[in-house]
């Protein structure tokens, strides 16, 4: 299986597609270390986002992935760790 990478650009695209964006938030700005909650994404928006990441990248994320990873930087790392596990399996 070829190794895929999940990037911040993937995340912002999926957030926009699935949940939209608050006008007050610039997803193209420096959001790596901003909590999802501050960006305007509540639990349901994150559930939707997680479902879309799973579908697109063919992985399964733990239920806790968003409670353990509350910023884009942490989430991108967690998804990539999951992708790496899949590639090496």
């Amino acid at each position: 299986m070829s190794e895929q990478e999940f990037t911040l650009q993937d995340l912002t695209r999926i957030l926009l597609d699935g949940a939209g964006a608050d006008e007050s938030v610039d997803l193209d700005g420096n959001i790596l270390d901003t909590d999802f909650e501050v960006l305007g994404y509540e639990s349901l928006a994150l559930l939707e986002t997680g479902g879309r990441i799973e579908r697109e990248f063919g992985i399964e994320l733990d239920d806790e992935v968003f409670t353990d990873n509350t910023t884009p930087r942490a989430l991108v790392a967690a998804v990539n760790a999951q992708l790496a596990r899949l590639a090496s399996a």
Partner: protein, 405 residues
């Protein structure tokens, strides 16, 4: 002395447009807004006419986060609620959050959103169903989203009773005001013009199959053969009289003076239909004799049996040709939960302007002894109005509105 409940703000979503001024300008002259369905291809279905709201782009009215998680009906409702607050001159964020609530009526809930997600479920699989399906298609979605979006933490609820539910919601909001709420957002907005919603309408058995927009929905006409469904409705700001005085409300349209709802007897029981009793009880609630009602906004179901029942109830209460009757909804169709709140708006504007809008397209059958206002609007001094609404399955509701000096 009961606390008086006043209408102090109006927001509408109608096939005549999203503005009260557009709605009234078209309604007062009986301009038609019914046409062939454009929101989906209606050609496979036995009925193809509807009253559609033209040119509504949710992104122009709502934050991006809300558009993805809402059905069209909720997008229309959020927009109309904002217009109602603006019209009332009220900033919802500046009010004590527990003093303001929202009660809406819903007939369909977010049926188009639900349809999209069902399509994904069966064509792509359960992993493709939106997380927002958990609430977006729910009947309470409009009340919930209006409450969340405007930070209203007072009483909230939803009533489901087809067309009658629209009046029952306003009455429930009035109860909350009598119990101490200062202000309520109330009314109803339905939007069900998608295939799943359409087959639901058709299953009711009362949708007209005509393809002529001006000869399709003809209540009280000898040619009556069902109705045309439409989308939209109205949301009103209802306010305790004292609150409106204290803040110096700029718009006071009318008072909600009386309401009652009844249920029809079991079919075949031989007992009388419940509409007349609803009218009598609403008049009693308003402490007004029938002789003081200046105009009736009919439910106008558009079938021979239901028109006969309504005409008989009106004749029994008001006498032969005893009161002007109108049904401006013939230009936009029946809006389900949105119909009666929009008729309340129409009544409020009729009181304000002293002009009864016409029941367009209808040639009144001589079999009914009612004074139906047709073709041309009628100038009249209107101080009180009665709005009637019936729902499929036996719901009857009546509401009395009274001018405020």
């Amino acid at each position: 002395m009961k606390i008086r409940t006043l209408v102090t703000g109006i927001g509408v979503a109608t096939p005549h447009g999203m503005g009260v001024a557009d709605y009234w300008a078209a309604t007062r002259v009986g301009k038609n807004a019914i046409g062939r369905i454009t929101r989906f291809d209606p050609s496979p279905y036995p009925a193809q006419l509807a009253g559609e709201i033209p040119d509504f782009t949710p992104q122009d009215h709502l934050p991006g986060r809300l558009v993805r998680q809402t059905d069209r009906s909720t997008q229309l409702a959020l927009t109309a609620a904002s217009h109602a607050f603006q019209d009332a001159g009220v900033d919802p964020g500046a009010l004590p959050e527990y003093d303001v609530g929202v009660v809406t009526a819903a007939g369909f809930g977010g049926v188009e959103f639900g349809q999209q997600e069902l399509r994904k479920l069966w064509s792509q699989g359960n992993r493709y169903v939106s997380a927002y399906q958990s609430f977006a298609s729910f009947h309470a979605a409009n009340s919930g989203q209006i409450s969340v979006h405007n930070e209203l933490r007072g009483h909230a609820g939803v009533l489901v009773g087809d067309q009658a539910g629209g009046l029952d919601a306003l009455a429930q909001a009035r109860r909350h005001i009598r119990r101490g709420s200062k202000l309520m957002v109330s009314g109803g907005i339905d939007a069900s013009l998608c295939p799943w919603g359409w087959v639901t309408h058709l299953a009711g058995g009362h949708v007209c199959g005509s393809d002529r927009p001006e000869r399709a929905y003809l209540p009280f006409d000898r040619a009556a053969d069902g109705h045309v469904p439409g989308e939209g409705g109205a949301l009103l700001i209802l306010e305790a009289e004292r609150n409106s005085i204290e803040r110096g409300a700029g718009n006071v349209y009318c008072e909600i003076a009386g309401h009652a709802s009844t249920f029809d007897p079991r079919p075949g029981s031989g007992r009388a239909p419940g509409l007349r009793r609803a009218i009598d009880l609403a008049l009693t609630d308003a402490a007004l004799p029938a002789s003081e009602i200046d105009v009736v906004f009919a439910d106008a179901a558009g079938t021979l049996r239901l028109d006969r029942e309504e005409a008989d109830a009106l004749t029994a209460v008001f006498g032969v040709f005893g009161v002007p009757v109108t049904a401006p909804k013939t230009t936009i169709g029946r809006l389900c939960a949105g119909a009666a709140p929009l008729d309340v708006v129409c009544a409020a504007l009729t009181i304000r302007e002293g002009l009864i809008p016409p029941t367009a397209h209808v040639e009144p059958s001589p079999e009914y002894d009612i004074d139906l206002v047709t073709t041309h609007p009628r100038t009249a001094s209107v101080r009180t109005a009665l709005v009637l609404a019936r729902g499929h399955g036996g719901f009857n509701s009546a509401m009395v509105l009274r001018a405020v000096d």
